[in-house]
C-alpha cells in the first residue's frame, strides 16, 4: 500500500514534472523552517559559552561536541542528564504501558460483559475525557501527597495512567470484531480472559503500537505534573529538568549544556517514532480483521 504511494508510474512523474518540483520545493521549505531552530540548538550544543553569547551566533557546529555532551550527561546543572533521561524513560513507558493495559481491559469489560451500571461507567469514563490533568491537579496532588508518593515513580505515573481516549479507541475497535469470534472461542472452551489474551490482544496489536507511540510522547512531554511533585532533583524528568537548568538568580545560564540537554531530550521520542513507524502507520490505516 505504501509502495503504491511511493512509486507512481513513471509516465505520471514525467507529465507532472513541473508540479512535482514545485510541491517538493514547498515541502523542503517547510521542513527547513521547522528544522532551523533544531539546527541552531544543535550548533549551540557544540560550541563554547562565549561563542553563543557574543553575536553573531555561529551557524555551523563547533568542536565542543564531546565536552558539552559529556558534561550534560555526566553532571548536568543540578543533576546529570543521564538520570533525568532514565526518569523520563521510566515515566513515559510506565504511562504508555499502563494506559494501554488499563484501557484494553476496561474496553474489554465494557464491550464483552453485562454488569449493572455498565452504561453509567462508560459515560463516566467518557466524561473524564473533558478533564485534563491540569483541571484536577490540586486534588490529585493532595491524594498523591497523602499516599506519600511525592518524589517517586508511582507518583509520577499513577495519576496519568487512566485514559478515556484509549479506552474509547479500543472499545470502538472491539465493537468491529464480529460477535461470532467470541462465540467461537467460547465453543472452543476459552475462558473470557483466555479469549482476551489469545484473540483480542493479538488482533489489536497494530492499534496498540500506534497508541504506544502517541502515549509515549504524551508521557515524555509531561511538564506540569512532574514539576509539581518532584522536588528532589534526582527524580526530575528531562522535560521539566531543562527548565530547572535556567538559573534563578544572577547565575549565568550554561547554554551549551542546556542545548545539549534539549537535543538529548528529543532523541528517545524520535527513536520510538522511527522504530515503530511501520506498525504505527498500519495501526492508523487498517484494522486487519
Amino acid at each position: 500500500m505504501t509502495e503504491a504511494v511511493k512509486d507512481p508510474p513513471p509516465g505520471m512523474v514525467e507529465r507532472r514534472g513541473a508540479g512535482l518540483w514545485v510541491s517538493h520545493a514547498i515541502m523542503m521549505f517547510g521542513v527547513l523552517i521547522v528544522f532551523f531552530p533544531i539546527w541552531l540548538a544543535f550548533v549551540a550544543s557544540t560550541v563554547t559559552q562565549p561563542e553563543i553569547t557574543n553575536p553573531p551566533m555561529p551557524l555551523w557546529p563547533g568542536d565542543q561536541f564531546l565536552v558539552n555532551y559529556g558534561k550534560a550527561l555526566g553532571s548536568g546543572v543540578n543533576v546529570p542528564v543521564a538520570t533525568m533521561l532514565v526518569n523520563s524513560m521510566i515515566m513515559a513507558i510506565g504511562i504508555a504501558v499502563g494506559k494501554i493495559v488499563i484501557s484494553l481491559l476496561s474496553a474489554f469489560a465494557i464491550v464483552y460483559f453485562r454488569f449493572p451500571g455498565k452504561m453509567v461507567f462508560f459515560w463516566l469514563i467518557f466524561l473524564t475525557l473533558m478533564l485534563p490533568v491540569e483541571v484536577r491537579i490540586v486534588p490529585t496532588y493532595e491524594v498523591i501527597a497523602g499516599f506519600g508518593m511525592l518524589n517517586s515513580y508511582g507518583g509520577l505515573i499513577l495519576p496519568l495512567i487512566a485514559s478515556a481516549t484509549a479506552t474509547f479507541l479500543f472499545r470502538q475497535f472491539y465493537m468491529t470484531v464480529p460477535d461470532e469470534l467470541a462465540e467461537a472461542a467460547r465453543v472452543d472452551g476459552a475462558s473470557p480472559m483466555r479469549f482476551f489474551i489469545d484473540v483480542l490482544f493479538p488482533m489489536s496489536r497494530t492499534n496498540i503500537a500506534a497508541l504506544f507511540v502517541i502515549l509515549f510522547i504524551y508521557g515524555w512531554n509531561q511538564y506540569l505534573w512532574p514539576l509539581l511533585i518532584t522536588t528532589d532533583p534526582s527524580m526530575n524528568t528531562i522535560v521539566m529538568g531543562i527548565k530547572q537548568m535556567f538559573p534563578s538568580g544572577d547565575d549565568i545560564a550554561d547554554w551549551p549544556v542546556i542545548m545539549a540537554t534539549s537535543i538529548l531530550a528529543m532523541i528517545p521520542p524520535v527513536i520510538v517514532v522511527i522504530s515503530m513507524q511501520k506498525l504505527f502507520v498500519r495501526g492508523l490505516v487498517d484494522s486487519e480483521k
Binding site: 461470532e180 462465540e183 467461537a184 465453543v187 472452551g189 476459552a190
Partner: protein, 352 residues
C-alpha cells in the same frame, strides 16, 4: 454421537417471546435441517442447543443429559458459523487446533488430529496460511475442520453456505452431508434455503414465527404438509393456494368447480402444486397466462385464475411457447390435494 431432545423450549428476550415452545427428539446420527424465513428464530433455537443463548423455559438434552446449565464447551458440540468466525491472526493449523490446545492436549496429539482433519477436508496445502489468504470455500472447510477435530457429539451449523456462490454451495452441500455420514455425528443445520433443506435433511423442522410448523422427512413435508405455511414454504415454485367452498362432493372456486373425493363442507383453502397441474382442454380450471418462464427442462407459466384475481403458477414439462393473454385449461388429481382451514391454516384431514 448422541441424541438431542428439545422439550417445550422457549426463548424470551426481555418480555418478547421469540420461540414459543419447540419440542422434538433427534436420533443419534440424524441430520436435521431447521428451515424457515428470516427472523423466525432458527438461529436462536440452534444457539440454545449450543449454549450460546440461555433457555428461558423447557429443556435441552444431549445424549439424554439435561444441558440447560452447561457451558458450550461442556456440551460436546461444535459449531460452524455463517461468517466462519476464524481467528484472523492464527494460521489454519492453529485455528483448527485451538480448542484442543485449550483442552491441554499434548502438542503431538493436536498435530495428529489436525493433520487427519486436514486430510479429510483436503486442507493440507493451506495449513500454514492465514484465513485471509484463503478463498471462501477454503475458509468454510477450515471452519468445518475446526468443528471435526474435536470429535463432538453434535455438529451445529448456522447457514454455513450462505456466503458461497451457487455452484460451490451445491458442492459443499454434498461434502458436508458425506462427511457427516462418514463420521456418524448428529447434526443440526440451519438454513433459509428450502432446496438446501430438501436435499440435505434426514428430517426437517419447518419454522415460522418461533413455532415448529412441521417436523418430518423432506418428502413427508412435501407430500403431506401439515400447515399452509409449510405447504407454501417447501417446494419451488411455491404451492398455489385458492379459497373455495366445499359442498356436496364438490369444491367451487369462483365459477369453476372441482370434484372432491372427500366429505368436506364449508369454506376451505386448497393447495395446488404448480407441477401437479394436468393440462386438459376439458379441465375444470382455467388460468389467463401473463408470462412464461422457460427453464429448459420445464416451463413456468404465471398468470391469474380466469375471472379471478388469484395469482397462479403452473409448471409444465418441456418447452411451451405461451402467449400472454392465452387461456390455459387444466385439471388436477383430486385424490391428493391438501386442504387447510382458512382461519388457522391447519391441514384438514379429508376422510373419504
Amino acid at each position: 454421537m448422541a441424541t438431542v431432545d428439545l422439550k417445550a423450549v422457549k426463548k424470551r428476550f426481555g418480555s418478547t417471546e421469540v420461540i414459543h415452545g419447540v419440542s422434538t427428539s433427534i436420533a443419534d446420527g440424524e441430520f436435521i435441517v431447521i428451515v424457515g424465513p428470516s427472523g423466525c428464530g432458527k438461529s436462536t433455537l440452534l444457539r440454545m442447543v449450543a449454549g450460546l443463548e440461555s433457555v428461558s423455559e423447557g429443556e435441552v438434552s444431549i445424549g439424554g443429559k439435561r444441558v440447560n446449565e452447561l457451558e458450550p464447551m461442556d456440551r460436546d458440540i461444535a459449531m460452524v458459523f455463517q461468517n466462519y468466525a476464524l481467528y484472523p491472526h492464527m494460521s489454519v493449523r492453529q485455528n483448527m487446533g485451538y480448542g484442543l490446545k485449550i483442552a491441554k492436549l499434548p502438542k503431538a496429539e493436536i498435530d495428529r488430529k489436525v493433520d487427519d482433519a486436514a486430510k479429510l477436508l483436503q486442507l493440507e496445502p493451506y495449513l500454514d496460511r492465514r484465513p485471509r489468504d484463503l478463498s471462501g470455500g477454503q475458509r468454510q472447510r477450515v471452519a468445518m475442520g475446526r468443528a471435526i477435530v474435536r470429535q463432538p457429539k453434535v455438529f451445529l451449523f448456522d447457514e454455513p453456505l450462505s456466503n458461497l456462490d451457487a455452484k460451490l454451495r451445491v458442492q459443499m452441500r454434498l461434502e458436508i452431508r458425506d462427511l457427516q455420514n462418514r463420521l456418524g455425528i448428529t447434526a443440526l443445520y440451519v438454513t433459509h434455503d428450502q432446496v438446501e433443506a430438501m436435499t440435505m435433511a434426514d428430517r426437517m423442522i419447518v419454522m415460522n414465527a418461533g413455532r415448529a410448523e412441521q417436523i418430518g422427512t423432506p418428502l413427508e413435508v412435501y407430500e403431506r404438509p401439515q400447515t399452509l405455511f409449510a405447504a407454501q414454504f417447501i417446494g419451488s415454485p411455491s404451492m398455489n393456494v385458492l379459497d373455495g367452498v366445499a359442498a356436496d362432493g364438490s369444491l367451487s372456486i369462483g365459477d369453476s368447480s372441482l370434484p372432491l373425493h372427500s366429505r368436506l363442507s364449508g369454506p376451505v383453502t386448497v393447495g395446488i402444486r404448480p407441477e401437479h397441474v394436468i393440462p386438459d382442454a376439458e379441465g375444470p380450471l382455467a388460468m389467463t397466462v401473463q408470462m412464461g418462464e422457460p427453464l429448459g427442462a420445464n416451463t413456468l407459466l404465471h398468470g391469474r385464475m380466469a375471472g379471478r384475481s388469484d395469482a397462479f403458477t403452473v409448471s409444465l414439462a418441456g418447452v411451451h411457447h405461451a402467449v400472454a393473454g392465452e387461456t390455459l385449461r387444466f385439471g388436477v388429481d383430486p385424490a391428493n390435494l391438501p386442504f387447510f382451514d382458512p382461519k388457522t391454516g391447519q391441514r384438514i384431514e379429508a376422510e373419504a
